[in-house]
């Protein structure tokens, strides 16, 4: 059944303007109300979709059909938002929010988005979604802590889910679930493929990776070249990933009887082996260490 206290949906809110006894001399206010309720509706749908994609099915491989449908929905919303310019507004709002990073100590809900202009995509805005919701006692029970090294240092904003306007989900090129960083932020590398994570619905540990390619959630089902990450912090995070799994020979010898699987298929099946061995506890721990480290930098202590 539907949970109690569900936000009124668009179909219900459609009745609002009519019931409100509005002044006929101000039809625009009705339109504005309808529009903003539509925007809120759309925004909440976007949030919900991104959370769904993040949901961590650690044990069983998630349903690809469901993920594809949710991803398509997110893409559709993002396109619509780009068209009516809402995207721009949110981008700016978020940049402002980034500057004043608020930490909610008890909840540690880190919802981050990094907006970045890239030279290669001539003025087109590329946004990185980090709908990372990591918390102690967050009702959604997801622990995804995401951080990113952006230009000029780490930007991190902590936003509570009740303030959807400051939450900017981000792009399409969307990648709510992330893979490991390839180290070089400005690297223009279409084929820089990062190792996929265990499932597209979020391992707890996600590093956002700067990529301008349309990187999607199903990127996790595909492995690409395991890119070496020169950054020592990242090295530490991925130190427990057994590199031998990326050795094709090892895999091939183990799969002699596989009938139709060529090397490409094997690579794919390796893909989700990437960060998946990282259990949530170890990754959260290392994430929190990183977080502390980064907070120190920001605070300048």
């Amino acid at each position: 059944m539907f949970p109690k206290g569900t936000k009124r949906k668009f179909s219900d809110s459609g009745d609002e303007p009519a019931a409100g006894g509005e002044d006929v001399n101000q039809p625009s206010s009705v339109a504005v109300r309808m529009l903003s309720s539509y925007s809120l509706q759309r925004q909440s749908l976007l949030d919900m979709s991104l959370i769904k994609l993040q949901l961590c099915h650690m044990l069983v491989e998630p349903n690809l059909c469901r993920s594809v449908l949710i991803a398509n929905t997110v893409r559709q919303i993002q396109e619509e938002m780009t068209q009516d310019g809402t995207w721009q507004i949110m981008t700016q709002a978020l940049s402002a929010a980034n500057a004043a990073a608020q930490c909610s100590a008890d909840r540690l809900v880190a919802t981050e988005v990094l907006c970045r202009q890239t030279e290669a995509t001539q003025g087109e805005q590329v946004l990185k979604p980090f709908p990372a919701v990591g918390s102690e006692g967050c009702p959604a029970e997801e622990e995804v802590v995401v951080e990113e090294e952006g230009e000029g240092g780490v930007t991190m904003s902590t936003v509570s889910p009740q303030a959807p306007t400051s939450y900017l989900p981000g792009t399409f090129g969307m990648d709510p679930c992330w893979e490991e960083e390839n180290g070089e932020d400005e690297e223009e590398d279409e084929d820089s493929e990062e190792c996929g994570s265990g499932s597209e619905e979020g391992d707890s540990d996600r590093l956002v990776e700067d990529s301008r390619t349309a990187e999607q959630v199903f990127g996790t089902f595909e492995i690409k070249n395991p890119a070496p990450s020169p950054d020592p912090a990242l090295e530490e995070l991925f130190s427990d990933v057994d590199a031998s799994y990326y050795d094709l020979d090892t895999v091939l010898t183990g799969m002699q009887s596989a009938p139709k699987m060529g090397p490409y298929d094997l690579l794919e099946s390796l893909s989700s082996h990437g960060p998946s061995p990282l259990s949530s506890s170890t990754s959260c721990r290392s994430d929190l260490n990183e977080l502390d480290h980064i907070m120190e930098i920001i605070v300048g202590s």
Partner: protein
């Protein structure tokens, strides 16, 4: 299953509500004669029911001569076996569920019955056979099978077959593994009796029933760059008569008919069935609700039946531009899509079935309701598969959802629908009007009883 249905006076509700996850039925299928009914569950078990041959049961067509009602045989448990075990994919560090996604029977060729069952990754061919005789009187072995001391053998005897109690043996005959990277959602036996297809989210393979170490890949929609993936395969089926034709459905609501004679890899369809989207009704959920969850050829091979979230559609194989019939299964949910998206119900995959003469289609809904549509009149009825309201042999009453207007007694309001009670899996007997409906861990079998007084068929129930 197998619970006492007569104890309706005792309040067993607290026991009933406790459903073991492993007992949830995940697939139901009649064999080609309808004498056997197989169910698969989330725990990887298969239960086969057999219709009992009742003395005096006359074949279809002579029903009116047998007493006041045509008393058909009931279905009783014939065999139970563990088809799939939980597995672990070591490369991906992910569990492989043992849940049986689909069961398909092979046409019977000898005394034994064969069925294919599949979980997410592996398909198995099982042989179900009866043994009611046993050889006795071996010379070299005694009755327990121990080797006799040669010196005690003084004469030779010829072993004879003696009747014993009926035993049903189930043995795995083939295991078709490592064919799929993604989750297998469909299997379909070809009319040639030798091959079958298995479909996962991105690929369809064709196997020979006798060869387990290789298969042909006949459809591959995996993009070179997974980031471009926007569509997956949701169901696939061979044509009932033409061994070269098969159809597969996608998450975008399209159906593709492929001819294997055209090329080895059928990535290019022969026909594409797609209904143009109504721009006026577009919403964020349009694509999700258009995703086809099941596709079935009609028995005569001329039509396709598809189910998407809100409707069931009948397509004519000769007309690609749209369905010839559209049936609203639960249109009252159209305004609730956001909530259904939130609680994930919008991703539920309902099955749909034809009756034997292709004149009626049936599909499931929520609140233990299922719907039947008569194609000739276009009328639909809502029926309920719920123990509280149906005793054995009771006649099923039609139900109504209250969506406005005059409310009648017994109408159910949309907001009081129980979305955890969903009828996803069902089967229709290939020749008679007997249907099997799976509702979580219960299997309901309803039979059509044509009463001699009127021509209206009622449905009697038999709960297992």
């Amino acid at each position: 299953m197998g619970e006492d249905t007569e104890s309706s006076k005792v309040n067993h509700s607290f026991l009933r509500d406790y459903v073991t996850e492993a007992d949830v039925i995940s697939t139901v299928e009649f064999n080609h004669t309808g004498d056997l009914l197989a169910t698969g569950d989330k725990g990887g078990r298969v239960v086969v029911f057999q219709r009992e041959t009742v003395v005096g049961h006359k074949p279809k067509g002579e029903l009116d001569q047998v007493g006041e009602t045509g008393e058909s045989g009931e279905y009783n448990v014939y065999s139970t076996f563990q088809s799939h075990e939980p597995d672990f994919d070591y490369l991906k560090s992910l569990e492989i569920e043992e849940k049986i996604n689909k069961i398909r029977w092979l046409p019977q060729q000898n005394a034994a019955h064969f069925l294919l069952s599949t979980n997410d990754k592996t398909i198995k061919l099982w042989k179900v056979s009866e043994r009611d005789k046993q050889p006795e009187g071996y010379n070299l072995k005694d009755e327990e099978g121990r080797v006799k001391d040669i010196s005690t053998v003084t004469s030779l005897q010829v072993p004879v077959l003696r009747p014993t109690d009926l035993m049903v043996e189930v043995r795995p005959r083939r295991v078709f593994s490592n064919g799929h990277t993604y989750h297998v959602n469909s299997i379909s036996v070809n009319s040639d009796g030798e091959t079958y297809l298995s479909a996962d989210d991105l690929r369809i393979n064709m196997w020979h029933l006798g060869i387990t170490d290789r298969s042909f890949n006949i459809v591959d929609i995996k993009p070179a760059n997974m980031e471009e993936l926007t569509e997956v395969i949701t169901a696939a089926e061979f044509h009932p008569h033409h061994c070269h034709l098969f159809v597969y459905s996608s998450s975008k609501g399209s159906l593709r008919l492929c001819d294997m004679r055209a090329s080895a890899l059928c990535d290019r369809h022969t026909k594409l069935f797609e209904e143009p989207e109504d721009p006026g009704s577009r919403s964020f959920f349009s694509e999700i609700v258009s995703s086809v969850s099941d596709v079935k050829f009609s028995h005569n091979g001329r039509y396709l039946l598809t189910r998407d979230y809100l409707t069931a559609k009948v397509w004519d194989l000769h007309m690609e531009k749209g369905p010839v019939e559209t049936y609203q299964v639960h249109d009252y949910l159209r305004t609730k899509l956001c909530s259904l998206y939130e609680n994930d119900c919008i991703f539920d995959k309902f099955e749909c079935v034809w009756n034997s003469s292709d004149s009626v289609i049936m599909t499931g809904a929520y609140n233990s309701f299922f719907r039947m549509f008569d194609r000739e009149t276009g009328r639909g009825v809502t029926l309920e598969a719920w123990r509280e309201t149906s005793k054995p042999r009771a006649v099923l009453r039609t139900r109504r959802i209250y969506t406005g207007g005059k409310r009648r007694r017994g109408d159910v309001g949309v907001d009081s629908l129980d979305f955890t009670k969903k009828i996803l899996h069902m089967a229709w007997h290939p020749e008679e009007n007997i249907i099997a409906i799976a509702s979580t861990n219960n299997l309901y079998i309803f039979q059509d009883r044509v009463s001699p007084d009127t021509q209206d068929p009622d449905l009697g129930s038999n709960t297992i």
